[in-house]
């Protein structure tokens, strides 16, 4: 097991050297008190997420751990090159798949996988988004297994969340441990909202005149990520709108203001494709904007991320990502994919059936851990039951080995203790550049030995430090 502070064999790794010097001088009790202070800080700022159905506790905090996750500048440079390559390929893939579909003709990705995929939107065929950008904002989930090995777990290219935690975690650390930041040079993340606004404004439709008007579309105050929507709009200096604030006026999407209707050029939407336009997609959607797809097709608004990007982070497509990178960039993928067995293929299915107790089996279109088998944690009976489901419809499943995720220490009552982590860096794409904020959201499984980092299942977050060297 690889620990990012102590390596494989309890020898302090270089990126943590200065932090180690500092924490040796600190008292555990005092640090635990600081952790309580951090919680109060988060509550006051209102960085909470809503939980449906429970009246009293309907605003919860995601636990924050005060020990930073530290990544060297060198490691980061390597990572960000890989991420940039991947995001470029994904954008090229999306353009291709909604236009000439060269990659299907070349037989690199099976056509069946696209045509039968719910995440593929026929309404986007032939539509060119302003500036050719599909994935304006994405959050690539990365895990580490050793000194050298990083794997991409998921490419979140729909509406990834968590960036407000990246920013507020840093803010909290700056307030609580200012002395640490004068000892250790950490690259700043605070330019993210400004960069995001610039990046979105650079994707404005050609028909837009004057300074681009940017707005953030939220499902509303009861959405679990509402805090983040409001936070980003505030930090970008953009209006935070809901569907009922918008309508089509003179061929533009316009928001109802105190001075009448005002046209919007770029809409950063935090609602799913399906709810975007009741006239085109789900007719029952109350949170979308009727007619927005017509305005979009007429080239009068930029929707970020573009509708239909979900086809690129589909689990079935994921396994082809190394080929996709190679096809569009001509280079081998710098970041590794987790080896994935497509149960649709006969040899793979045989292997998966023989090794169920060691594999993680996922539904191709599932998310959030539903309909999943975690082999090493499952009972014989569960495995037998899953086997039947798998045989019944093998095309619906992929399988992956369980990865030994790296650990990073967290602060407990008894002092530092290792816990498993993942990392979600945030990537901004505009026609001319791809920008990766040096840092990201580190999610940490707070339970000893647990590999589940999801906040809905008891995971927490950490500040992520990229050393400035």
């Amino acid at each position: 097991m690889f620990d990012e502070m102590l390596g494989d064999n309890e020898t302090l790794r270089e990126p943590y050297a200065k932090y180690q010097q500092w924490i040796e001088q600190e008292d555990t009790k005092h640090l635990n008190k600081k952790a309580t202070e951090a919680e109060a800080f988060f509550r006051r700022t209102g960085i909470t997420f809503n939980v449906y159905g429970s009246e009293e506790a309907n605003e919860r905090l995601i636990p924050f751990d005060i020990v930073p996750r530290i990544i060297s500048g060198h490691e980061w440079n390597k990572l960000s090159r890989g991420i940039e390559q991947r995001v470029r390929a994904i954008n090229a893939f999306l353009y291709d798949i909604y236009h000439r579909q060269e990659i299907l003709r070349a037989g690199v990705v099976p056509a069946k996988l696209i045509a039968q995929n719910e995440a593929f939107l026929p309404q986007m065929i032939g539509v060119s988004p302003p500036g050719g950008v599909y994935t304006h904002i994405c959050g690539v989930d990365i895990v580490r297994t050793s000194e050298r090995d990083f794997y991409v777990l998921e490419d979140n290219v729909r509406t990834p969340s968590g960036v407000s935690y990246m920013l507020e975690n840093r803010e909290t650390m700056l307030q609580m441990f200012p002395e640490l930041f004068s000892k250790i040079k950490v690259r700043s993340v605070s330019e993210y909202p400004k960069n995001m606004r610039r990046s979105l404004a650079a994707c404005t439709p050609k028909l837009c005149e004057g300074k681009p008007v940017v707005a953030v579309l939220t499902p509303g105050i009861f959405n679990s990520a509402y805090f983040e929507h409001a936070f980003l709009a505030d930090q970008m200096g953009a209006e935070l709108v809901e569907g009922h604030d918008l309508k089509v006026v003179d061929g533009h999407i316009a928001m109802r203001t105190t001075r009448g209707f005002k046209a919007i050029d770029v809409l950063y939407r935090r609602i799913d494709d399906d709810f975007l336009d009741p006239l085109t997609f789900n007719p029952d959607s109350m949170i979308g904007v009727p007619g927005i797809m017509d305005v979009y097709r007429a080239g009068r608004i930029t929707i970020a991320n573009a509708p239909g990007t979900g086809i690129a982070d589909d689990k079935a497509i994921y396994s082809y990502m190394p080929d996709i990178v190679k096809f569009y960039t001509g280079e081998s993928a710098l970041l590794k994919n987790v080896p994935t067995y497509r149960c649709a293929e006969k040899d793979s299915l045989t292997y998966v059936l023989d090794n169920l107790s060691e594999l993680v089996v996922k539904e191709v279109h599932g998310s959030g851990g539903y309909g999943m088998l975690v082999g090493p944690a499952a009972s014989k009976r569960e495995i037998a039951a899953f086997k039947l489901k798998l045989l019944d419809n093998p095309e619906n499943y992929i399988a992956q080995p369980t990865l030994a995720l790296s650990t990073v220490p967290i602060m407990t009552k008894k002092g530092l203790a290792p816990r498993h982590v993942d990392l979600r860096p945030f990537v901004l794409s505009s026609p001319n550049r791809i920008q990766i904020t040096p840092g990201g959201l580190t999610r940490v499984a707070l339970k000893k030995g647990s590999l589940v980092v999801n906040s809905s299942q008891g995971g927490g977050t950490k500040d992520t430090w990229i050393l400035d060297e």
């Binding site: 105050i221 409001a230 209006e239 109802r256 105190t258």
Partner: protein
Amino acid sequence: MLGKTAAGLYWMFRYLERSENTARMLDAGFRIALTRSTAAEDEWVSVLASAGSHNSYIEQYDQIDAPSVINFLLREKNNPSSVMSMVETARNNARLVRTALTREVWEATNECWMTMKDLLAHPIHEKELPAVLRSIRQQSALVRGALHGTMLRNDSYDFARIGTFLERADNTARILDVKYYVLLPSAQHVGTSIDNVQWETILLSVSGRSAYHWLYEGETNPVSIANFLILDRQMPRSFAFCFTKLAETLGYLGEDYNIEHPCQLKAEAMLKNLKQKTINDIIDQGLHEFIQDFISENQKIASMIEEDFRFYG
């Protein structure tokens, strides 16, 4: 600015103002109950009526006593006019308009809500009441301070102020509406101790007791109290003061937006009317009618504002 955001700011500050005023009325009622036990029940009825909560109280309780009234007005979940409910509504509006507030204003509002939730988690015993009320006053002062100290003087600030002054004018009018009769000149009561108590409560309910004595040099009489609350432009809770601010703020918005809305003209007309009147005119024409008329005009101007600035559609 979005119409929805303007509405959110306006309601956020209406609710904050109203919760603070409810706390103030409770304070006055409690003081009377402590010092004049015979007048206590009447006083609680007045407090409930001024807070617009008398009917909903009667639906839930059989009798009027201090602990029930205090808890009903401070923390009853089923009472949308309890301090806790109103602070919660104010904070929900603040969440809605988070982008129009500075971080300081948002945090002060959020802390106000957290403090209230904590303080009002359990029934309030009489002996805790003064400390609780003090804390409510302090928390709302912090929000107001953050507003004044950190917000740009733009339309966000204007809508917050409009909500504040409309609500405050309405609250003062309601206190007077319930108690107007004690201010009517009547040979029978003048100088009796009952009246003095009532006069004092009115002044306490608007946090104006010492200001009044300062201005009117210790001479308490009903006509000058009515003048103080209605026409005195130095008194920050009087009709005239609130309308000066309201007309001024609507004027800033008009200038900013380069349009003179009907609500602005209406506010200016109402202010002009207040400036031209003396307190004796008002009493001669009927104090009660004047107050009721003011309350209904106040509601009209509120709907005009909602329409002129496209709050809801």
